[in-house]
Amino acid sequence: MSYIAKPSAHHPALPRNAIGFTRRDYEGSMSTLCAGCGHDSITAALIEACFEMDLPAHRIAKVSGIGCSSKAPTYFLSRSHGFNSVHGRMPSVTTGANIANRDLIYIGVSGDGDTASIGLGQYCHAVRRRVNMTYIVMNNGCYGLTKGQFSATNDKESPSKKGEANPFESIDLCQLAIQLGAGFVARSFSGDKNQLIPLIKAAISYKGFAFLDVISPCVTFNNHPSSTKSFDYVRAHNLASENTLDYVEPKEEITVDYAEGTSAAIAMHDGSRLVLHKLDGGHDPRDADAAIMAIRSNDAKGRIATGLLYVNEEQQDMHDILATSERPLNEVPMAELCPGSKALDGINARFR
């Protein structure tokens, strides 16, 4: 049905958020991905999160690379500018856009091939630079658009559709992010909306580099029962959750009493809070070593640790590090940027 243009009319009674928009105002054009694709669920979660957060869509910029995942930004937030760049290079384009205007919300959308293979270098360096963005990997373990080759996140031994086992180690993007100093690292599953939406909200609220690795099965090429990226496998092995999380918006009060020692509230830069509920055996996500341990020990048992894995409440973002002006650089008038002829006299004098 993807060839049908999406009608823009909607029911007048559709609920509106605090800034007067309906969910439909956060949608994009009709998805052209395969029916049942996990990416479409992530898209739906993004729409829901932005609607519920009352975000003005035009203050969001969507940036992606190349691949099925990178097509996805067309399918949400049609009132936001989007930039479908080149393969593996979303991080650099987002970095530049962010330097130019620090006031927008940046959602980077990438895939496992786009991030873990061709774009691994750019990914690592965007983490190191603490670019204030939400970086989402729609992770299906394979190359969809070129018909199902293994990607670098496909688990070792997990077979292709034709039954060939993957001989190579997989790259765990969450562990890498924690090691490189990402401030917010979470893993989720496209099939778990209740977990995903609060994580997206928290990632967007986070000031600094927020990484979300969302396992998103490829229904066409990597959803066979023996694949570790299939719906069935992830459902059966998802440790949802290591820790559960509530996202509390700035305007809300925390009304529920949480038992001492089992929960923690983390303040976000924009006034919102994350309330974590510690489950038995869960780790403290403010502890990077514990987070990596949780990922690795669960993985060794064949389980996938999802939820908020790591958060650093005091991260400086790229602009803090670069000491840039509070004003967006793209709004500084030329008169302030160009020193003029008088300053040039002094400069010429130094070269005489």
Binding site: F83, N84, A323
Partner: protein, 606 residues
Amino acid sequence: MSGINDFVAKFATVNGSGSASANSIFAKTLFRMGIPVSPKNIFPSNIQGLPTWYEVRVSEAGYLARRDGIDLMVAMNPQTFKEDLAEIVPGGWLFYDSSLPRVWPRDDITVLGVPIAEMCAAKWRDPRQRQLFKNIVYVGALAALLEIDMDVLRQTIADQLKGKEKLVAANMEAIELGRAYAAKHFDCPLPIRVRAAQGAKGKIMVSGNDAAGLGAIYAGATVCAWYPITPSTSLAEAFEKYAKRLRTTKDGKRLYGIVQAEDELAAIGVAIGGGWNGARAFTATSGPGISLMSEFLGLAYFAEVPVVLFNIQRGGPSTGMPTRTQQSDVLSCAYASHGDTKHVLLFPANPTECFSMGAEAFDLAERLQTPVIVMSDLDIGMNDWVTEPFAWDDAKVHDRGKVLSAEQLENFKELKGKDWGRYQDVDGDAIPYRTLPGTHPTKGAFFTRGTSHDENARYTEDGRIHARVLDRILRKFETAASLVPKPQVTTRDKGGKTGLIYFGANTPAVHEALEALEREGVRVNALRLKAFPFTREVLDFCAAHECIFVVEQNRDCQMRSLLMTEADVPGTKLIAANSYDGMPMTAAFVRGAVLKELRPAKAAAE
């Protein structure tokens, strides 16, 4: 031909030995005496221990191209004694450290031995001082031999060592050591010597990279991303130096953001992201970086995102000669990236133009919504040139191109008679209107992509639409031809049929050669290219001349090819005059190439 204020001195030293600052003191002092000089640093791709040379041509007449034939060789590097000796013209001088005396196997030159190491060992105890001051001692000896103005020399040293006053006194002692020895032992001054002149008065001495970095500041660039690569590194560093000084607010905040990227791909990606988001953004690189940036250049071309790229060309192919100069990226830049792409190129000929064209590049990039590549090279970029001072017109308004405000988006249809679409040609100049993220709550959002798109930025696989969009972008290139800087035409032979096309760093060599040829009765009209696409004037010049020399520094005559392809000039009338040994071009080379064609008998006799 050598004499007072007209000679070439060459310093042969070991890199990492501290000679660079002594050599630049020498050149700067002559410049401050008002004498036009052109220092060329011929350095290895290495930090310490390899041979390095510094050539200084002194020319009261103002000829600042490199010139072969060394009048005075300061031979401080035993590794290269043999070749350095061979380069000296008959009747010339060889200056060396005679602490270890040696016999020089030439009887047509004068050897000037100064026991520098011995003198330094006697004067200083610290081994580092002994080493560093050797360089200053030879400058002192040259001061006597060439009759350099001591007041100017002292002031130059004082300026160079600003903030380290103690060192000034020590340096002056080293100068005096050398000067006194030379005055006592040699017949000073030599027939080649210097005297105060007027030719360099009012000028500045600066490198092109410093100038281009400053140009980006004046252009209002706020986003700079780069990856270290010789010879472009000093451009980004210059931008940072000036930005710190000129773009820091009173509360210590910066009105710029600089990223030293992980590679050239990221560097241009950052710049494109910044340009897309409405900042003036740029990167600087050299040959290998151009190769790496090609995919992104195609994206910016097709998605129509402004970005400025400074290419400080060096010797290719591959890693090639990283510390030698060439103009060998003409074609790779004109057509960078796969598919049908063409890019706007600017060709500065000196640091003054690196400044002015560097700034203008940003106006063009935003006006045309496309990458603009400033084609400098190692010779312009890293050598100090005596050049016109930088000038800025405060009345000038930066051309930010067609960017719609929220209000203009609201009223677009009333203003323009049709609905806005990102890639609609509304004005007939093939330049569409763009919008920036965050401008308007409900209007102006679109999806920027490198995949094929229609006039409203929607994905398309309709071949007719694809071709239509490509055609419009080509028409935009025609608009570009009306906006880029026009060439400089010099008519020496009105109605004459012989012409010469040149650009960039070859300019001093070409000017000198054409003047010499004119004195010999060979008059050649000339056109200096400043930009690609070629403007009307270039086409007219090519049509008006039957025999046109194309002077360039690359093997494959790339500019000649570009003229054939893009200006439809028949190859039969374009005569290649190309060098590609990595050394700045000489006037003798240009003159020889012209004579070989026009006066073959004379050329053969020479």
